[in-house]
């Protein structure tokens, strides 16, 4: 169970989310520490994306409290909320790039809306962000429909990072990427976390990501966090799902 952590950037307390009669999250508690990369795992359909979307505010919750940057999101005024939203970036599972805007416009969109800066700076920052996610400036004038799956993820990450957020949510960032691309992406997240001092909340199914990128892992099951800790803690756990997950055929292959 996640204990009380003093410098938590996200603090989730007793969250309950219900769709119709189906209770997806049931009194869930979770803390994310400043500056860490938290890997969030769990069986398909356990509600990983639901929790992410609840924290971001896209899914209404039945009860509970969510604090991000120490701001209680339910009690926050519209202006406070916008202030919080400016400080986080979100990478959606399918990228969610605006299909009628080019890569350049997609990345510049949040910057243009929030900051009153010159077109020159917008372009330079866009090139810098593209460089950070490992893309060449030549892709700037392409539309999302002209990009490969991996490039879409990278552009979406560049857009999530456009305003230099302190916190990024990544929803299955490596799904649909080839193993080399996925490995690069993990490396990228690590590098960005070091250079920009990011806190990363990463929903993932990728064992490689858990081993190489994450500082801490939280496991979701039956609407609660069933375990949280380092990769070693996970491997030592006696929980049946965790045993299967971290000692299954694929896990052994990853550990070599």
């Amino acid at each position: 169970m996640a204990g009380e952590i003093s410098d938590a950037i996200i603090r989730v307390r007793d969250i309950t989310v219900q769709f119709g009669k189906m209770r997806v999250l049931d009194g869930l508690n979770l803390d994310v520490k400043r500056g860490e990369i938290l890997g969030f795992v769990g069986p398909s359909g356990a509600g990983k994306s639901v929790l992410t979307r609840t924290i971001i505010g896209l899914v209404p919750k039945l009860s509970g409290r969510i604090e991000v940057f120490g701001v209680d999101l339910d009690a926050a005024s519209a202006a406070e909320r916008r202030g919080v939203e400016r400080r986080w970036g979100i990478l959606f599972q399918q990228g969610a790039l605006f299909s009628s805007l080019t890569v350049r416009q997609n990345i510049q969109f949040p910057v243009r809306e929030y900051l009153n800066v010159s077109q020159r700076l917008l372009d330079e920052i866009m090139v810098a962000k593209l460089g950070m996610v490992g893309l060449r400036p030549e892709v700037a004038d392409r539309y999302p429909s002209e990009l490969s799956g991996g490039m879409i993820k990278r552009v979406a990450l560049a857009r999530a990072l456009a305003l230099d957020p302190e916190l990024v949510f990544l929803d299955e960032p490596t799904s649909g990427l080839d193993p080399i691309g996925a490995g690069d992406f993990d490396e990228l997240v690590r590098t960005l976390q070091r250079t920009l001092g990011l806190t990363v909340f990463m929903v993932t199914h990728d064992l490689d990501s858990l081993y190489t990128a994450c500082d801490r892992i939280a496991v979701l099951g039956n609407g609660k966090i069933i375990a949280a800790g380092s990769i070693a803690d996970m491997q030592a756990s006696q929980h049946p799902w965790l045993r299967q997950y971290f000692h299954g055929k694929r896990a052994r292959a990853v550990m070599g």
Binding site: N116, V127, A128, G131, D141, L163, D164, T191, G197
Partner: protein, 378 residues
Amino acid sequence: MVSGNPTLERIARGNALALCATGAWTARFAPVLERMVADAEKLGGTRPNIFIDVSRVSKLDTFGAWLIERLRRSLTQGGVEAQIAGLSANYSSLVDEVRRVKAEPIVETDRVTITGMLEQIGRSVAGVGGTLVGLIEMLGAVLAAAGHVLIRPRGFRLTSTIHHLEQVCWRAVPIVVLITFLIGCIISQQGIFHFRKFGADIFVVDMLGVLVLREIGVLLVAIMVAGRSGSAYTAELGSMKMREEIDALRTMGFDPIEVLILPRMLALVLALPILEFLGAMAALYGGGLVAWLYGGVDPEAFLLRLRDAISIDHFIVGIIKAPVMAAVIGIVACVEGLAVQGSAESLGQHTTSSVVKGIFFVIVMDGVFAIFFASIGM
């Protein structure tokens, strides 16, 4: 972390100049930072040596790091020995990262010019021929699929056809009946108002009967169906195209025309005559009601006059047009739906053009029919 407003102080140290950056060099202050850096860039050439001292920067992000890098590059280009000093270990990797950015400005590719606009017009005109060919191609493909289904009736999708029939026919009945009823009322009221001036009130029945059965009924219903169902077909097929569902069907060995388009076309071709009939009846009823209440033509006289004024030919002319109009609307809607590209904007454009072209072709077809029926004396 307490982060004050950023500043860039100039401190002269003998022959050299130190630019002392303090405060938070972050995105929030980007407009201020940009101005300060632009001012500092003018110092190029005044001193041989300039240090950019960042040791007192409380917070740095990509924006701040890039602006410091931009200042350094600009000073270096001006022939000054510019160096960044006092960089803390936390931020050195960020500065290294932005140092790799190539700053040559990217040229916007799409610019509005007169030749570009003329080219656009030319392409649109040339595109008209392409549109017609596309429509004929789709008509051929649909007929071929229909023939295929006739030979092998098990391939016919009855459930899907019934589903679409419910969507385009049954659910359209209330709005179609309401609107045609109101139009019938208006025609009748206007007719009586103007005919009364020369004592020809009763001829409003002739006008109403001929107009509604031959033209207004079918045109009005076809336009409503184009707006209601044509747009829906385009949006459905378009979003299926965007999500590669149509490609998936094709790779499983199904013909999208047979699976998706034929049931839709058939539903539309069956629906429009039914709606046309209901609409015409509603319009006649509305017209008769107004004639009675407003013009004093009692229902018996109205019906008697109607029987004299119109023949079955008028009704046939209207009802024959309906399935043809339906086919035109359906073909246009399906062609536009399959032409949708990857973006949401493209979906919107094609849905718009589906309705616009659908209505346009309906009216053109109506004109062609008018000439045809006049020449065969119907």
